[in-house]
Symmetry: C2
Subunit: 256 residues, 2 copies
DNA sequence: CCCAATTTGTTCGTATGTATC
DNA sequence: AGATACATACGAACAAATTGG
């Protein structure tokens, strides 16, 4: 009779084990961003492993955005706060395979953007409102230039990203900005905004102007309604029948 | 006059460059999960770099869940689809630092779960509905045992995860499951469900039963309303004044 | 059951680059 | 400028795992 071994699915390699141990150690120790990890030679001594193995473990952590290395005296490996951009890039790798449709993206946007709008009503400073109006102005060019359309589209999405940045909810902030970025890539890589874009742009601009007013007035429900309507028209104008999103891996450099 | 060098923020190390190059190459080549990358020795030849450097690059990709290595003949480095679990773990590292509150989590849940419920109404097979009822039954223990409460709570969150799994929208699926998992960790690590939990559990069970009915009947608006009400009470019962979430890094083994 | 081939995994020694004092 | 402390990179050898004969 076979011994019925319960295969634990993934036997970890040595670098993986070391990376996990370091992670655990950082948590137990309560290390914060900026704190230094033991030096390579020290880690080699503690784990009794070769330099290469230790270095691979560090790379594992580095790819997750958890540590950053610096050379020179006073250098070493430091705990690093995972940036929003890095997190978005990592999640982007997943989305690349998940292959969502435009409808999928808008299903989330339609649920979250109005919620964001309402939660921000009456809570923005005059400076922040002015900032938003500034972005809006950027997206209103004098004439309809040929390649300016894509730029306008990008500016519009930037408006949404900036709005999200004003939320105190880090999760809401992250998801909305991620969706905007994702949508931006989609509309850029495919020519999804060509024919109906002027229409979308005009209506979008009007909505955004009225939205800022509602935010200034502190009228939450109106802000929500305006954003919901904006989402509905934007989605509708993006004739997205079956358009599947084939997305690129995001580069690693911490843009943003 | 200084040459006004535009510091590109992050000069990439050699392994990082190699990892990026490989990523790009995979995309250009249109490689799919399961496809094999060039062998280590081949990569060493192509990039004209040392073995250690190449291996570190592979680790960079491995940490992102993009590749998997196997030893032996027919082995090598293979393109790998980023799993939902891996993506969640990676995003978890970001959330660990972002430190959201319970309110933050529920702001998203309250917006997304009702949307999910409505979109699922009338689209589930009898088998799927039965499956959901099964999970529900599991979370209905005979008596209120002491430590059974945490288990019940977990089962309730599992119900939401299963519901999300039925959505055809990969983004909605991912975010909702991630939030449920996040909330689950919070309530487990802290004793956030002790006093009012029986109440939450009873009301939750009732809501979920009625929700399944609405889903079966294909009554989208009712499903949405039920879920919205459920979220509101669940949120309310979790007296979460200021409770900040201090979350653990997730282990790397692909659980799920 | 063992042997051989293949491919990743790990080790060690050495040398180079880089930032600080 | 030079010494120091650290990560980074190289190269050669050996070990372990997996597959097929």
């Amino acid at each position: 009779m076979p011994p019925a071994t319960i295969r634990s699915e993934t036997r970890l390699s040595r670098p993986q084990k070391v990376a996990e141990a370091i992670k655990q150690w950082v948590m137990d120790e309560g290390l914060q961003p900026g704190h230094r990890l033991p030096s390579e030679t020290e880690l080699i001594r503690r784990f009794a492993m070769a330099k290469g193995t230790i270095r691979e473990a560090i790379r594992l952590l580095e790819a997750q955005g958890l540590v950053k290395s610096r050379t020179g005296p006073g250098g070493g490996v430091f705990v690093h706060q995972v940036s929003e951009g890095r997190a978005a890039a990592l999640l982007g790798n997943y989305v690349y395979f998940a292959n969502p449709t435009i409808d999928d993206i808008y299903q989330l946007r339609s649920a979250l953007e109005p919620e964001l709008a309402e939660s921000l009503a009456g809570r923005l400073s005059p400076a922040q409102l002015a900032e938003l109006e500034g972005t809006l102005a950027e997206s209103a060019p004098p004439a309809a230039s040929a390649e300016g359309e894509a730029a306008r589209h990008a500016a519009s999405l930037r408006f949404h990203a900036e709005l999200a940045a004003l939320s105190e909810n880090p999760l809401l902030r992250f998801v909305i900005r991620f969706l905007a970025e994702l949508l931006s890539e989609v509309t850029v890589t495919r020519g999804l905004h060509s024919p109906t874009d002027p229409e979308l742009w005009t209506s979008g601009l009007a909505y955004q102007r009225r939205l800022i007013e509602a935010l200034r007035d502190g009228d939450g429900p109106r802000a929500r309604a305006l954003m919901a309507a904006h989402m509905a028209t934007a989605h509708g104008l993006m004739h997205t029948r079956e358009a599947a999103v084939t997305r690129r891996f995001l580069p690693e450099g911490n843009r943003r």
